[in-house]
Protein backbone atom coordinates (compact mmCIF):
# COMPACT_ATOMS: atom_id res chain seq x y z
CA UNK A 1 0.00 0.00 0.00
CA UNK A 2 1.35 3.38 -0.92
CA UNK A 3 1.88 5.95 1.73
CA UNK A 4 -0.60 8.11 -0.11
CA UNK A 5 -3.32 5.48 0.00
CA UNK A 6 -2.55 4.69 3.66
CA UNK A 7 -2.96 8.35 4.60
CA UNK A 8 -6.19 8.52 2.65
CA UNK A 9 -7.73 5.56 4.54
CA UNK A 10 -6.54 6.99 7.77
CA UNK A 11 -8.12 10.35 7.02
CA UNK A 12 -11.41 8.71 6.04
CA UNK A 13 -11.45 6.70 9.25
CA UNK A 14 -10.80 9.82 11.27
CA UNK A 15 -13.59 11.69 9.54
CA UNK A 16 -16.02 8.82 10.06
CA UNK A 17 -15.19 8.64 13.75
CA UNK A 18 -15.57 12.38 14.13
CA UNK A 19 -18.93 12.50 12.37
CA UNK A 20 -20.17 9.54 14.40
CA UNK A 21 -19.33 11.37 17.61
CA UNK A 22 -20.82 14.65 16.43
CA UNK A 23 -24.08 12.97 15.49
CA UNK A 24 -24.49 11.13 18.76
CA UNK A 25 -26.26 13.59 21.04
CA UNK A 26 -27.84 10.94 23.25
CA UNK A 27 -24.46 9.62 24.28
CA UNK A 28 -24.21 9.22 28.04
CA UNK A 29 -21.65 11.56 29.54
CA UNK A 30 -19.02 9.49 31.26
CA UNK A 31 -17.33 12.28 33.15
CA UNK A 32 -20.45 13.46 34.97
CA UNK A 33 -21.43 17.09 35.45
CA UNK A 34 -18.78 19.70 34.69
CA UNK A 35 -19.04 23.31 35.92
CA UNK A 36 -19.40 25.98 33.25
CA UNK A 37 -16.11 27.77 32.46
CA UNK A 38 -17.57 30.99 33.95
CA UNK A 39 -19.40 29.16 36.77
CA UNK A 40 -22.70 30.01 35.13
CA UNK A 41 -22.03 33.75 35.46
CA UNK A 42 -21.94 33.77 39.29
CA UNK A 43 -19.15 34.24 41.82
CA UNK A 44 -18.35 31.36 44.18
CA UNK A 45 -15.67 30.60 46.79
CA UNK A 46 -12.51 28.86 45.58
CA UNK A 47 -12.99 25.19 44.80
CA UNK A 48 -16.69 25.52 44.01
CA UNK A 49 -18.07 25.35 40.48
CA UNK A 50 -21.36 26.56 39.05
CA UNK A 51 -23.29 25.07 36.16
CA UNK A 52 -26.49 26.35 34.59
CA UNK A 53 -28.61 23.22 34.53
CA UNK A 54 -31.91 24.71 33.37
CA UNK A 55 -33.04 28.02 31.90
CA UNK A 56 -36.33 29.75 31.06
CA UNK A 57 -38.19 27.24 33.22
CA UNK A 58 -40.75 29.84 34.33
CA UNK A 59 -41.26 31.72 37.59
CA UNK A 60 -39.44 29.11 39.66
CA UNK A 61 -40.04 29.62 43.37
CA UNK A 62 -39.06 26.77 45.67
CA UNK A 63 -37.41 23.61 44.38
CA UNK A 64 -36.70 20.11 45.65
CA UNK A 65 -34.43 17.39 44.32
CA UNK A 66 -35.68 13.82 44.63
CA UNK A 67 -33.39 10.92 45.64
CA UNK A 68 -33.11 9.93 41.95
CA UNK A 69 -31.89 13.41 40.94
CA UNK A 70 -35.17 14.69 39.44
CA UNK A 71 -35.74 18.33 40.29
CA UNK A 72 -39.26 19.56 41.00
CA UNK A 73 -39.93 23.29 40.68
CA UNK A 74 -43.00 25.20 41.90
CA UNK A 75 -44.05 28.00 39.58
CA UNK A 76 -45.62 31.28 40.62
CA UNK A 77 -47.25 31.69 37.24
CA UNK A 78 -48.65 28.86 35.10
CA UNK A 79 -46.45 27.83 32.20
CA UNK A 80 -48.22 25.98 29.41
CA UNK A 81 -51.09 25.64 31.88
CA UNK A 82 -48.93 23.89 34.50
CA UNK A 83 -47.78 25.02 37.94
CA UNK A 84 -45.22 22.29 38.73
CA UNK A 85 -42.31 21.26 36.54
CA UNK A 86 -40.28 18.07 36.81
CA UNK A 87 -36.79 18.32 35.31
CA UNK A 88 -34.75 15.24 34.53
CA UNK A 89 -31.14 14.80 33.42
CA UNK A 90 -31.26 11.86 31.02
CA UNK A 91 -27.61 11.71 29.93
CA UNK A 92 -25.80 12.44 33.18
CA UNK A 93 -24.12 15.67 32.14
CA UNK A 94 -25.82 17.58 34.95
CA UNK A 95 -28.04 19.63 32.65
CA UNK A 96 -31.73 18.85 32.70
CA UNK A 97 -32.90 17.75 29.28
CA UNK A 98 -36.46 16.59 29.94
CA UNK A 99 -39.28 18.81 31.21
CA UNK A 100 -42.67 17.51 32.31
CA UNK A 101 -45.37 19.82 33.66
CA UNK A 102 -48.33 18.97 35.91
CA UNK A 103 -50.62 20.56 38.49
CA UNK A 104 -52.86 23.47 37.52
CA UNK A 105 -52.17 25.77 40.48
CA UNK A 106 -49.64 28.52 41.03
CA UNK A 107 -47.68 28.83 44.27
CA UNK A 108 -44.33 28.67 46.05
CA UNK A 109 -43.84 25.67 48.37
CA UNK A 110 -42.26 22.40 47.22
CA UNK A 111 -40.91 19.36 49.10
CA UNK A 112 -40.68 15.59 48.95
CA UNK A 113 -40.87 13.44 52.07
CA UNK A 114 -41.54 9.74 52.69
CA UNK A 115 -42.91 8.96 49.24
CA UNK A 116 -45.03 12.07 48.75
CA UNK A 117 -44.48 15.30 46.86
CA UNK A 118 -45.97 18.34 48.60
CA UNK A 119 -46.76 21.61 46.81
CA UNK A 120 -48.63 24.72 47.89
CA UNK A 121 -50.86 27.26 46.21
CA UNK A 122 -51.45 30.60 47.94
CA UNK A 123 -54.30 29.13 50.03
CA UNK A 124 -53.78 25.36 50.02
CA UNK A 125 -51.27 22.53 50.30
CA UNK A 126 -51.55 19.42 48.12
CA UNK A 127 -49.67 16.15 48.06
CA UNK A 128 -49.02 13.61 45.31
CA UNK A 129 -48.07 10.00 46.02
CA UNK A 130 -44.90 8.94 44.22
CA UNK A 131 -45.19 5.64 42.35
CA UNK A 132 -42.87 2.61 42.26
CA UNK A 133 -40.68 4.51 39.76
CA UNK A 134 -40.16 7.21 42.44
CA UNK A 135 -42.04 9.83 40.43
CA UNK A 136 -45.44 11.49 40.21
CA UNK A 137 -47.33 9.34 37.69
CA UNK A 138 -48.97 10.90 34.62
CA UNK A 139 -52.40 12.29 35.36
CA UNK A 140 -52.03 11.83 39.13
CA UNK A 141 -54.58 13.72 41.22
CA UNK A 142 -53.29 15.21 44.47
CA UNK A 143 -54.89 15.05 47.91
CA UNK A 144 -55.72 18.45 49.33
CA UNK A 145 -54.33 18.30 52.86
CA UNK A 146 -54.70 22.00 53.79
CA UNK A 147 -57.24 24.53 52.56
CA UNK A 148 -58.76 27.93 53.26
CA UNK A 149 -55.63 29.83 54.34
CA UNK A 150 -55.59 33.61 53.99
CA UNK A 151 -54.69 35.17 50.66
CA UNK A 152 -55.14 38.93 50.73
CA UNK A 153 -52.72 39.69 47.90
CA UNK A 154 -49.85 40.70 50.16
CA UNK A 155 -47.35 38.15 51.51
CA UNK A 156 -49.69 35.53 50.11
CA UNK A 157 -47.17 32.76 49.33
CA UNK A 158 -47.39 29.61 51.49
CA UNK A 159 -43.90 28.13 51.77
CA UNK A 160 -43.58 25.16 54.12
CA UNK A 161 -41.30 22.48 55.55
CA UNK A 162 -41.83 19.07 57.15
CA UNK A 163 -40.44 17.39 60.26
CA UNK A 164 -39.77 13.69 60.84
CA UNK A 165 -42.93 13.17 62.89
CA UNK A 166 -45.66 13.62 60.29
CA UNK A 167 -46.09 17.37 60.67
CA UNK A 168 -45.97 20.13 58.09
CA UNK A 169 -45.21 23.77 58.99
CA UNK A 170 -46.79 26.41 56.76
CA UNK A 171 -46.15 30.14 56.65
CA UNK A 172 -49.20 32.36 56.69
CA UNK A 173 -47.77 35.80 55.91
CA UNK A 174 -49.41 38.92 57.34
CA UNK A 175 -51.22 40.91 54.65
CA UNK A 176 -49.85 44.07 56.21
CA UNK A 177 -46.70 46.07 56.74
CA UNK A 178 -46.96 46.80 60.47
CA UNK A 179 -50.59 46.12 61.42
CA UNK A 180 -51.54 49.79 61.23
CA UNK A 181 -55.22 50.76 61.32
CA UNK A 182 -54.70 51.82 57.70
CA UNK A 183 -51.99 49.69 56.09
CA UNK A 184 -48.98 51.68 54.90
CA UNK A 185 -50.58 55.04 55.65
CA UNK A 186 -48.11 57.45 57.21
CA UNK A 187 -49.23 58.38 60.73
CA UNK A 188 -51.80 55.61 61.08
CA UNK A 189 -51.30 53.95 64.50
CA UNK A 190 -50.52 50.29 65.10
CA UNK A 191 -53.41 48.11 66.26
CA UNK A 192 -52.97 46.56 69.67
CA UNK A 193 -53.61 43.71 69.94
CA UNK A 194 -53.01 43.12 66.25
CA UNK A 195 -56.07 41.17 65.01
CA UNK A 196 -54.16 39.76 62.03
CA UNK A 197 -52.19 37.47 64.34
CA UNK A 198 -55.23 35.20 64.83
CA UNK A 199 -55.09 34.11 61.19
CA UNK A 200 -51.70 35.15 59.81
CA UNK A 201 -48.30 36.54 60.73
CA UNK A 202 -46.96 33.17 61.87
CA UNK A 203 -46.27 29.51 61.22
CA UNK A 204 -49.09 26.98 61.45
CA UNK A 205 -48.58 23.27 62.04
CA UNK A 206 -50.74 20.62 60.38
CA UNK A 207 -50.65 16.84 59.90
CA UNK A 208 -49.24 15.56 56.62
CA UNK A 209 -51.78 12.75 56.27
CA UNK A 210 -55.13 14.43 56.93
CA UNK A 211 -57.19 16.02 54.18
CA UNK A 212 -58.93 19.41 54.14
CA UNK A 213 -57.37 20.77 57.31
CA UNK A 214 -57.79 24.48 57.92
CA UNK A 215 -57.39 26.86 60.86
CA UNK A 216 -59.58 24.74 63.16
CA UNK A 217 -57.43 21.64 62.63
CA UNK A 218 -54.07 23.45 62.67
CA UNK A 219 -51.93 24.73 65.50
CA UNK A 220 -50.46 28.22 65.52
CA UNK A 221 -46.93 26.98 66.09
CA UNK A 222 -45.18 30.37 66.14
CA UNK A 223 -46.50 33.92 65.91
CA UNK A 224 -45.19 37.46 65.52
CA UNK A 225 -43.60 36.66 62.16
CA UNK A 226 -44.55 39.18 59.48
CA UNK A 227 -43.69 37.04 56.49
CA UNK A 228 -41.50 33.95 56.48
CA UNK A 229 -40.33 32.75 53.09
CA UNK A 230 -37.46 30.53 54.21
CA UNK A 231 -38.15 27.73 56.65
CA UNK A 232 -36.39 24.44 57.19
CA UNK A 233 -36.49 21.65 59.72
CA UNK A 234 -32.95 21.20 61.04
CA UNK A 235 -32.68 17.43 61.50
CA UNK A 236 -29.38 17.78 63.41
CA UNK A 237 -31.23 19.27 66.39
CA UNK A 238 -34.87 18.54 65.44
CA UNK A 239 -35.99 22.16 65.36
CA UNK A 240 -37.69 24.61 63.06
CA UNK A 241 -35.70 27.58 61.74
CA UNK A 242 -37.22 30.46 59.79
CA UNK A 243 -36.14 33.64 58.01
CA UNK A 244 -38.42 36.65 58.27
CA UNK A 245 -38.96 39.53 55.86
CA UNK A 246 -38.98 42.62 58.07
CA UNK A 247 -41.23 45.64 57.74
CA UNK A 248 -40.84 48.43 55.18
CA UNK A 249 -40.87 52.24 55.08
CA UNK A 250 -39.25 53.31 58.37
CA UNK A 251 -37.55 56.28 56.70
CA UNK A 252 -40.59 57.17 54.58
CA UNK A 253 -42.89 57.20 57.64
CA UNK A 254 -40.46 58.49 60.27
CA UNK A 255 -37.82 60.68 58.60
CA UNK A 256 -37.31 62.45 61.91
CA UNK A 257 -36.09 59.17 63.44
CA UNK A 258 -34.25 57.46 60.59
CA UNK A 259 -31.87 58.81 57.96
CA UNK A 260 -32.42 57.63 54.42
CA UNK A 261 -29.48 55.24 54.78
CA UNK A 262 -30.76 53.91 58.12
CA UNK A 263 -34.14 53.33 56.51
CA UNK A 264 -32.43 51.33 53.78
CA UNK A 265 -30.69 49.11 56.36
CA UNK A 266 -33.52 48.79 58.88
CA UNK A 267 -35.10 46.75 60.23
CA UNK A 268 -32.89 43.65 60.13
CA UNK A 269 -34.01 40.64 58.20
CA UNK A 270 -33.92 38.00 60.94
CA UNK A 271 -33.39 34.29 61.35
CA UNK A 272 -35.15 32.61 64.27
CA UNK A 273 -35.02 29.21 65.85
CA UNK A 274 -38.64 28.73 66.82
CA UNK A 275 -40.41 26.32 69.11
CA UNK A 276 -44.07 25.75 69.84
CA UNK A 277 -45.47 29.01 71.19
CA UNK A 278 -42.63 31.30 70.07
CA UNK A 279 -43.65 34.95 69.65
CA UNK A 280 -41.06 36.69 67.48
CA UNK A 281 -42.44 40.19 68.05
CA UNK A 282 -44.09 41.48 64.87
CA UNK A 283 -45.80 43.96 64.62
CA UNK A 284 -44.85 45.43 68.01
CA UNK A 285 -41.07 44.96 67.81
CA UNK A 286 -38.32 45.03 65.23
CA UNK A 287 -34.58 44.46 65.34
CA UNK A 288 -32.70 47.71 64.81
CA UNK A 289 -29.72 46.86 62.62
CA UNK A 290 -27.92 50.10 63.49
CA UNK A 291 -28.43 49.84 67.24
CA UNK A 292 -28.20 46.02 67.42
CA UNK A 293 -31.25 45.72 69.62
CA UNK A 294 -34.85 44.60 69.48
CA UNK A 295 -36.98 47.70 70.08
CA UNK A 296 -40.57 48.91 69.75
CA UNK A 297 -41.86 49.84 66.31
CA UNK A 298 -42.67 53.57 66.02
CA UNK A 299 -46.32 52.68 65.27
CA UNK A 300 -46.37 51.29 68.83
CA UNK A 301 -44.67 54.23 70.51
CA UNK A 302 -41.09 53.31 69.68
CA UNK A 303 -38.36 55.91 69.51
CA UNK A 304 -35.44 53.57 68.60
CA UNK A 305 -34.56 53.22 72.29
CA UNK A 306 -37.71 52.06 74.08
CA UNK A 307 -37.78 48.28 74.15
CA UNK A 308 -41.19 47.85 75.80
CA UNK A 309 -41.59 44.11 76.34
CA UNK A 310 -39.55 43.31 73.21
CA UNK A 311 -36.94 41.74 75.47
CA UNK A 312 -39.40 38.99 76.37
CA UNK A 313 -40.03 38.09 72.72
CA UNK A 314 -38.15 35.33 70.89
CA UNK A 315 -34.76 36.79 69.96
CA UNK A 316 -33.35 36.14 66.52
CA UNK A 317 -30.15 34.13 66.13
CA UNK A 318 -28.84 35.89 62.99
CA UNK A 319 -29.50 39.43 61.76
CA UNK A 320 -28.97 40.74 58.23
CA UNK A 321 -29.29 44.26 56.78
CA UNK A 322 -32.83 45.36 55.95
CA UNK A 323 -34.99 44.56 52.93
CA UNK A 324 -32.75 41.89 51.39
CA UNK A 325 -35.65 39.41 51.38
CA UNK A 326 -34.46 35.97 52.57
CA UNK A 327 -36.58 33.74 50.32
CA UNK A 328 -35.33 30.26 51.17
CA UNK A 329 -33.41 28.47 53.89
CA UNK A 330 -31.61 25.14 53.64
CA UNK A 331 -29.57 23.27 56.22
CA UNK A 332 -26.81 21.48 54.36
CA UNK A 333 -26.51 17.79 55.23
CA UNK A 334 -24.45 16.62 52.24
CA UNK A 335 -20.92 15.24 52.15
CA UNK A 336 -19.68 16.96 48.99
CA UNK A 337 -18.84 20.38 50.48
CA UNK A 338 -15.99 20.96 52.97
CA UNK A 339 -16.58 20.15 56.64
CA UNK A 340 -17.48 23.70 57.72
CA UNK A 341 -20.63 23.58 55.58
CA UNK A 342 -22.03 20.49 57.30
CA UNK A 343 -25.29 21.36 59.11
CA UNK A 344 -24.79 25.04 58.30
CA UNK A 345 -27.48 27.17 56.69
CA UNK A 346 -27.68 28.48 53.15
CA UNK A 347 -30.07 31.39 52.65
CA UNK A 348 -31.23 32.63 49.23
CA UNK A 349 -31.82 36.39 49.22
CA UNK A 350 -34.28 37.62 46.62
CA UNK A 351 -33.00 41.21 46.78
CA UNK A 352 -34.48 44.49 47.93
CA UNK A 353 -36.81 47.23 46.74
CA UNK A 354 -37.26 49.42 49.83
CA UNK A 355 -33.76 50.91 49.68
CA UNK A 356 -34.31 53.51 46.92
CA UNK A 357 -32.78 55.95 46.29
CA UNK A 358 -29.90 53.96 47.84
CA UNK A 359 -28.76 51.24 45.41
CA UNK A 360 -30.69 47.99 45.76
CA UNK A 361 -28.93 45.04 47.41
CA UNK A 362 -29.21 41.33 48.11
CA UNK A 363 -29.59 39.05 45.07
CA UNK A 364 -27.13 36.55 46.59
CA UNK A 365 -26.89 33.32 48.54
CA UNK A 366 -25.44 33.51 52.04
CA UNK A 367 -23.91 30.84 54.23
CA UNK A 368 -24.17 30.79 58.04
CA UNK A 369 -21.92 28.25 59.84
CA UNK A 370 -23.63 26.30 62.64
CA UNK A 371 -22.26 24.34 65.55
CA UNK A 372 -23.51 20.96 66.73
CA UNK A 373 -25.81 22.74 69.20
CA UNK A 374 -27.90 24.16 66.37
CA UNK A 375 -26.65 27.70 66.93
CA UNK A 376 -24.51 29.82 64.58
CA UNK A 377 -20.80 29.58 65.40
CA UNK A 378 -19.48 32.23 63.03
CA UNK A 379 -20.44 35.26 60.96
CA UNK A 380 -22.56 34.97 57.85
CA UNK A 381 -20.81 35.30 54.53
CA UNK A 382 -21.93 35.77 50.94
CA UNK A 383 -21.51 32.35 49.30
CA UNK A 384 -22.80 32.94 45.77
CA UNK A 385 -23.05 36.40 44.23
CA UNK A 386 -23.39 38.19 40.92
CA UNK A 387 -26.97 37.14 40.14
CA UNK A 388 -28.06 40.75 39.57
CA UNK A 389 -25.61 41.32 36.72
CA UNK A 390 -24.32 44.74 35.63
CA UNK A 391 -27.19 46.89 36.96
CA UNK A 392 -28.05 46.18 40.61
CA UNK A 393 -31.26 48.20 40.22
CA UNK A 394 -32.45 45.97 37.37
CA UNK A 395 -31.47 42.55 38.69
CA UNK A 396 -31.22 39.99 35.92
CA UNK A 397 -31.63 36.97 38.22
CA UNK A 398 -33.09 36.75 41.72
CA UNK A 399 -32.31 33.78 43.99
CA UNK A 400 -35.54 32.31 45.35
CA UNK A 401 -35.17 28.60 46.04
CA UNK A 402 -32.53 26.16 47.33
CA UNK A 403 -32.27 22.40 47.19
CA UNK A 404 -29.69 19.73 47.90
CA UNK A 405 -28.97 16.98 45.38
CA UNK A 406 -28.45 13.34 46.39
CA UNK A 407 -24.69 13.75 45.80
CA UNK A 408 -24.53 16.83 48.05
CA UNK A 409 -24.54 19.44 45.30
CA UNK A 410 -26.54 22.64 45.92
CA UNK A 411 -29.22 23.91 43.55
CA UNK A 412 -30.25 27.57 43.34
CA UNK A 413 -33.36 28.73 41.49
CA UNK A 414 -34.21 32.17 40.11
CA UNK A 415 -37.81 33.33 39.68
CA UNK A 416 -37.09 36.25 37.36
CA UNK A 417 -36.00 34.34 34.28
CA UNK A 418 -36.35 30.77 35.48
CA UNK A 419 -32.69 29.79 35.65
CA UNK A 420 -31.35 27.00 37.86
CA UNK A 421 -27.71 26.57 38.88
CA UNK A 422 -26.02 23.53 40.33
CA UNK A 423 -23.09 24.19 42.67
CA UNK A 424 -20.48 21.47 43.12
CA UNK A 425 -17.22 21.25 45.02
CA UNK A 426 -14.07 19.49 43.89
CA UNK A 427 -11.27 18.77 46.34
Amino acid sequence: MSIFRQSFYCLMACLLTLSACAGDTTKVATNGPVPDPDNGGIKLPAGFGGQIVADKVGRVRHIFVNSNGDLYAKLEKLKDGKGIVRLRDKNGDGKFDETVGFGNFIGTGMAIKNGYLYASSNTEVFRYKLDEKNEVPDGAQPEKIITGLWDHHQHEAKPFTLDNNGNIYVTIGAPSNCCQVQDRVKGSPGQSPCPILDSAGGIWQFKVDKTNQSYAEGVRYATGLRNVMGLDWNTAVNSLYVTQHGRDQLFQFYPEMYSQKEGAENPSEEMFKVKLGSDCGWPYCYYDYTKKQKVLNPEYGGDRTKAGDCGSKEQSIVQFPGHLAPNDLLFYTGDMFPEKYKNGAFIAFHGSWNRAPEPQAGFFVVFVPFGKDGMPNGNWDVFADGFAGADINKAAYRPCGLAQGPDGSLYISDDNQGRIWRITYKK
Binding site: Q154, H155, E156, R184, F251, Q252, W353, A356, K394
Partner: protein, 135 residues
Protein backbone atom coordinates in the same frame (compact mmCIF):
# COMPACT_ATOMS: atom_id res chain seq x y z
CA UNK B 1 -54.04 98.75 6.17
CA UNK B 2 -52.31 100.01 9.30
CA UNK B 3 -55.24 98.84 11.31
CA UNK B 4 -55.12 95.36 9.79
CA UNK B 5 -51.39 95.08 10.50
CA UNK B 6 -52.01 96.32 14.00
CA UNK B 7 -54.71 93.73 14.64
CA UNK B 8 -52.46 91.04 13.21
CA UNK B 9 -49.63 92.08 15.52
CA UNK B 10 -51.93 92.09 18.49
CA UNK B 11 -53.20 88.65 17.58
CA UNK B 12 -49.67 87.32 17.18
CA UNK B 13 -48.64 88.86 20.49
CA UNK B 14 -51.59 87.42 22.33
CA UNK B 15 -50.88 84.01 20.78
CA UNK B 16 -47.30 84.23 22.00
CA UNK B 17 -48.49 85.37 25.36
CA UNK B 18 -50.82 82.39 25.47
CA UNK B 19 -48.35 79.68 24.38
CA UNK B 20 -45.22 80.77 26.20
CA UNK B 21 -46.61 80.63 29.73
CA UNK B 22 -48.28 77.33 28.82
CA UNK B 23 -44.89 75.75 28.04
CA UNK B 24 -43.09 77.32 30.96
CA UNK B 25 -46.13 76.38 33.07
CA UNK B 26 -45.61 72.73 32.15
CA UNK B 27 -41.93 72.91 33.05
CA UNK B 28 -42.62 74.65 36.35
CA UNK B 29 -45.31 72.11 37.19
CA UNK B 30 -42.93 69.23 36.32
CA UNK B 31 -40.20 70.73 38.46
CA UNK B 32 -42.53 71.06 41.42
CA UNK B 33 -43.89 67.59 40.67
CA UNK B 34 -40.44 66.04 40.86
CA UNK B 35 -40.09 67.23 44.45
CA UNK B 36 -43.44 65.64 45.31
CA UNK B 37 -42.44 62.46 43.46
CA UNK B 38 -39.09 62.16 45.23
CA UNK B 39 -40.78 62.60 48.60
CA UNK B 40 -43.83 60.35 48.26
CA UNK B 41 -43.46 58.07 45.22
CA UNK B 42 -39.82 57.26 44.56
CA UNK B 43 -39.44 54.77 47.43
CA UNK B 44 -41.79 52.35 45.67
CA UNK B 45 -41.86 53.40 42.02
CA UNK B 46 -38.10 54.10 41.86
CA UNK B 47 -36.07 56.96 40.44
CA UNK B 48 -36.68 55.85 36.84
CA UNK B 49 -40.37 55.00 37.28
CA UNK B 50 -39.54 51.34 36.76
CA UNK B 51 -41.20 50.11 39.97
CA UNK B 52 -40.25 46.80 41.59
CA UNK B 53 -41.03 43.46 39.96
CA UNK B 54 -44.31 41.97 41.25
CA UNK B 55 -44.39 44.47 44.12
CA UNK B 56 -44.81 48.02 42.83
CA UNK B 57 -46.01 48.66 39.27
CA UNK B 58 -43.94 50.62 36.75
CA UNK B 59 -45.07 54.07 35.60
CA UNK B 60 -43.50 53.81 32.16
CA UNK B 61 -45.92 54.03 29.23
CA UNK B 62 -48.71 52.14 30.98
CA UNK B 63 -52.38 52.80 30.32
CA UNK B 64 -52.81 53.77 33.97
CA UNK B 65 -50.38 56.66 33.56
CA UNK B 66 -51.12 57.73 29.99
CA UNK B 67 -54.87 57.00 29.96
CA UNK B 68 -57.89 58.49 31.74
CA UNK B 69 -56.67 61.36 33.91
CA UNK B 70 -59.66 61.14 36.22
CA UNK B 71 -58.82 57.52 37.08
CA UNK B 72 -55.18 58.42 37.57
CA UNK B 73 -56.06 61.24 39.97
CA UNK B 74 -58.33 58.78 41.78
CA UNK B 75 -55.44 56.33 42.29
CA UNK B 76 -53.32 59.02 43.93
CA UNK B 77 -56.20 60.10 46.17
CA UNK B 78 -57.55 56.67 47.10
CA UNK B 79 -54.54 54.37 46.79
CA UNK B 80 -54.55 50.99 45.11
CA UNK B 81 -53.63 47.37 45.81
CA UNK B 82 -53.45 44.02 44.06
CA UNK B 83 -53.36 45.53 40.60
CA UNK B 84 -52.58 43.97 37.22
CA UNK B 85 -50.54 46.16 34.90
CA UNK B 86 -49.62 45.05 31.39
CA UNK B 87 -50.23 41.39 32.28
CA UNK B 88 -48.23 41.38 35.53
CA UNK B 89 -49.65 41.27 39.06
CA UNK B 90 -48.35 43.71 41.67
CA UNK B 91 -49.05 42.85 45.29
CA UNK B 92 -47.93 45.84 47.31
CA UNK B 93 -50.37 48.29 48.88
CA UNK B 94 -50.36 51.91 47.81
CA UNK B 95 -51.74 54.16 50.54
CA UNK B 96 -54.22 56.95 49.76
CA UNK B 97 -52.40 60.23 49.14
CA UNK B 98 -55.44 62.47 49.66
CA UNK B 99 -53.38 64.61 52.06
CA UNK B 100 -51.58 66.11 49.05
CA UNK B 101 -52.95 69.45 47.86
CA UNK B 102 -54.69 69.80 44.50
CA UNK B 103 -51.60 71.62 43.26
CA UNK B 104 -49.25 68.83 44.45
CA UNK B 105 -51.35 66.11 42.79
CA UNK B 106 -51.55 68.10 39.55
CA UNK B 107 -47.80 68.68 39.61
CA UNK B 108 -46.75 65.13 40.44
CA UNK B 109 -49.01 63.65 37.77
CA UNK B 110 -47.79 66.18 35.24
CA UNK B 111 -44.26 65.13 36.16
CA UNK B 112 -45.05 61.40 35.87
CA UNK B 113 -46.90 61.84 32.56
CA UNK B 114 -43.89 63.71 31.14
CA UNK B 115 -40.98 61.70 32.55
CA UNK B 116 -39.54 58.18 32.21
CA UNK B 117 -40.19 58.30 28.45
CA UNK B 118 -43.84 59.32 28.91
CA UNK B 119 -45.35 62.19 26.94
CA UNK B 120 -48.90 63.20 27.75
CA UNK B 121 -50.90 66.29 28.57
CA UNK B 122 -50.49 68.06 31.90
CA UNK B 123 -52.89 67.48 34.78
CA UNK B 124 -54.41 70.75 35.98
CA UNK B 125 -55.46 71.87 39.43
CA UNK B 126 -59.02 72.22 38.09
CA UNK B 127 -59.03 68.57 37.01
CA UNK B 128 -57.84 67.47 40.46
CA UNK B 129 -60.39 69.72 42.18
CA UNK B 130 -63.18 68.23 40.06
CA UNK B 131 -62.11 64.68 40.98
CA UNK B 132 -61.88 65.31 44.72
CA UNK B 133 -64.91 64.02 46.60
CA UNK B 134 -67.24 66.82 47.70
CA UNK B 135 -67.27 67.41 51.44
Amino acid sequence: MKLIVGIFCLLALSLCAFTLPQQSGLKASKDRGKIVYDTYCLACHMQDGGGAPRMNPPLIKTKFVLGDKKKLIGIVMNGLSGVEVEGEDYSNVMAPHNFLTDQQIADVLTYVRNSFGNKASAVTVAEVKAARPKK
